[in-house]
Amino acid sequence: MAVTDVTPNGSGDGAPKVALLNNPEVRGWVFQIILAVLIVYLAFEGWTNMNANLRAAGIASGWGFLGTNAGFAISQSLIEYSQASSTYGRVYIVGLLNTLAVAFVGIILATIIGFIVGVARLSKNWMVSRLATVYVESLRNIPLLLQIFIWYFGVLRLLPQPREGFDFGPLGLLNNRGFFAPKPVWGEGAEFTLYAFIIACVIAWGVGRWARARQMATGQIFPSFLVGLGTIIFLPLIVFFVSGAPLSWDIPKMGGFRPSGGMTLIPEYIAMLIALSTYTASFIAEIVRAGILAVNRGQTEAANALGLRNGPTLRLVIIPQALRIIIPPLTSQYLNLTKNSSLAVAIAYPELTSVFAGTALNQTGQAVEIISLTMLTYLTISLVTSLFMNWYNNRVALVER
């Protein structure tokens, strides 16, 4: 690693080419104080200007608007939202949840597609690797916003009108108002299934720990993954049927204009999800490829020499080492995806930027408060994600001597 730069004197930026005093420390402090004063002055100037402008324009400022009634409708909401009684504060939460909904699912999809394409690029099958290359090179060289438009209007044009829409019977309806899926309605006693699921998770975790400890001590391998998976699947299932299968489905039915009932995935969400995940996947694929290539061939050979078969070699030797290289850039791709979800403003998917920094800003005119809150929210998401990923990265990082 490089050294930290020492003996700064701050010149090179200021007019005096000749040093003021020959003590670098003093020079450093003089420069820093000048800088700090300048920044504070600029901030102060901006603040007073803003207040003066707001006062001159007669704009009310403050956070009171968060408690007032919003009065407009939102096409997708994960929590209860009614235009009649919900406040701007609630609009903010609805927008934030929609952002997280598209970002979370998008990250999962992008990771899956990205890993598949990344491995495919390294395939010895010419067709597969070429196709993967074409995928990567075409998607990452076209602006995301353009892709969002193409997907959105493409999806809208491809899907039929509601009355001529696809009907998958109990599986739902698909038309250009979105995908309407059956919604599970939990009956009485459903909580036991949930408890069983939680207990199963705890058991699986315990088994995993025990198996690892035993392997460390005795070298015997216990199939903890299969056992854990089995527990998580079957324990809740058994409880579910024992408690009388307390589940019914709310199946969407075609209404006058669009289907009603069930769960809806609006076209904006579908288009955003496809565009975000395929675009980000093209970057993830390159990261994965670089990560795998960076693992020395000797590692594979050594693992083979130890008698490991191909599967365990990949799982126990290659991937853990590749992950170390993959994770830091992967983190920034996840953050990019989350931030890029703000492009939804262009196609009316009601996420944070669109519904809060868009609609709410337009209705209230509280530009300063709303933009600051929006930026702060994204900043918080970014910082929390990178803190978490840094922590994880430190855990898997190579401990150097």
């Binding site: 007019a15 000749v18 597969v128 076209i142 492009l343 800003l361």
Partner: protein
């Protein structure tokens, strides 16, 4: 053993070597290639067939839309609409309407820049391409002169040509004169305090301010060009103006921030980190919203920025944070010995950075800078959300022309945009890879 037999025992002995035979037909040439890389095992065969199927689904409709069914010439929407839609095409026809792109081509490039003034944009384009080619092709000499041309002469020439020059800078002369006096005084005072010769410092300051006065004079000079306000700029012109200005402004800012972040001075480091992490943590679109809606409120009464300039400020601040991280990567990649060597020679911090560290570090990060530029180039599309007409925005705005309205219009426009963006980005990424290979010589650890 064979040698123990006498010749008579053996019915036939080959006396000459057989000519070398080709490998079996199944393991050479095209057949072998097919076998090995496509059909070597059952899973491979399935994969290959799956790929072929994907190609079968994608390629024919794409070719049909882009080429075989496309309309290449025509005067209005009739050629691109089916009979049911009031056109001449048979029902069920679906192809690109390149005639519409041809008709709008001029607007896609220049926006609403007046036709008779477009030669100015062309000159700026030629100057830029010329300067850039000289800089980017490693074998072209005069790199230093080229950089001076691109960094000083070109921006001024471009500003004057694009806007028309004759800018109202009259009010700036007096403040600049006052600033000159102050700077000279401070420089003299500092030199006196540190008991060194004030002449070189004064000389530098004087040269700098003479340069600024000349700059002001040129900007205010009336070249007789018609003023073209930025509202009529559009298309590829705006895309390139934003991307190039963004990267040009972010480079010095990014270097300053990267140095600040690695500085030993706590306050400098603190501000640099806050600045970098803030801009990297927020989406560009909120930055653009901020610059378009909030920035006017921060300015003193009586000062207001042009809409394009506001977007430029937002983009420059945003990309400078990313640039700072790229440059920091270059600074960290330099071996410690370079720093120690520089210090051992008795260079001070400025000299060390200017003569030893930055030249090497910046050379290392050229691919990173190009990649940042590609990202920025793609991100310029976001300005259409705040109502500027960049390339994509201009294409979108042409959809509202009833003369060309047809169901294929939007898809044609998007396809055209995708092709253009792809060509730009792909060639830049190839260049970045080329530089990476070229620079991938020293400093390997």
């Amino acid at each position: 053993m064979a040698e123990q037999h006498s010749a008579a025992d053996i019915a036939f002995v080959r006396r000459e070597m057989l000519p070398q035979q080709d490998a079996p037909a199944t393991s050479r040439g095209i057949v072998a290639w097919f076998r090995e890389s496509l059909f070597s095992s059952i899973p491979y065969t399935i994969l290959t067939l799956a790929c072929l199927y994907i190609l079968w689904v994608i390629i024919p409709p794409l070719v049909s839309f882009l080429f075989t069914s496309a309309v290449w010439s025509g005067a209005d929407r009739a050629v691109c609409a089916t009979e049911a839609q009031g056109g001449i095409q048979p029902d069920g026809w679906f192809g690109a309407c390149w005639a519409y792109v041809g008709d709008y081509g001029n607007q896609f490039i220049y926006g609403r820049y007046p036709n008779e003034e477009q030669w100015r944009v062309n000159i700026v384009g030629i100057l830029f391409i010329g300067g850039l080619a000289g800089l980017l092709i490693p074998s072209v000499p005069y790199k230093r002169e080229n950089i001076i041309f691109l960094a000083i002469v070109f921006p001024i020439a471009a500003l004057i040509l694009l806007t028309g020059g004759h800018l109202s800078v009259g009010g700036l002369y007096i403040p600049l004169a006052i600033l000159t006096v102050i700077a000279l005084g401070v420089s003299f005072l500092f030199a006196k305090l540190s008991e060194s010769d004030p002449i070189p410092g004064l000389k530098n300051v004087a040269f700098l301010f003479i340069g600024l006065f000349v700059l002001l004079f040129i900007l205010g000079f009336d070249f007789g060009l018609v003023h073209v306000e930025t509202e009529v700029w559009g298309g590829l012109l705006v895309t390139l103006v934003i991307a190039v200005t963004g990267i040009a402004a972010s480079l010095p800012l990014g270097i300053a921030l990267a140095l600040g972040r690695r500085s030993a001075l706590p306050i400098v480091r603190f501000f640099s980190i806050v600045f970098i992490e803030f801009w990297r943590g927020v989406p560009l679109i909120t930055v653009l919203f901020m610059s378009s809606v909030m920035l006017p409120l921060f300015l003193p009464e009586g000062v207001s920025f042009d809409k394009l300039l506001r977007a430029l400020i937002g983009v420059a601040l945003f990309s400078s944070a990313y640039m700072a991280e790229v440059v920091r990567g270059g600074l960290q990649a330099l071996p410690k010995g370079q720093y120690e060597g520089a210090m051992a020679l008795g260079l001070n911090w400025t000299q060390m950075m200017r003569m030893i560290i930055l030249p090497q570090a910046l050379k290392l990060v050229i691919p990173g800078i190009v990649n940042t530029f590609i990202g920025l180039f793609k991100d310029t599309t976001l300005v259409l959300i705040i109502g500027l007409f960049d390339f994509l925005g201009q294409i979108q705005s042409s959809y509202s022309d009833p003369a060309w309205a047809s169901p294929v219009q939007a898809m044609t426009g998007y396809a055209f945009a995708a092709i253009v963006y792809w060509i730009f980005c792909f060639s830049m990424s190839r260049y970045s890879m080329f530089m990476e290979r070229k620079l991938d010589t020293g400093h390997k650890r």
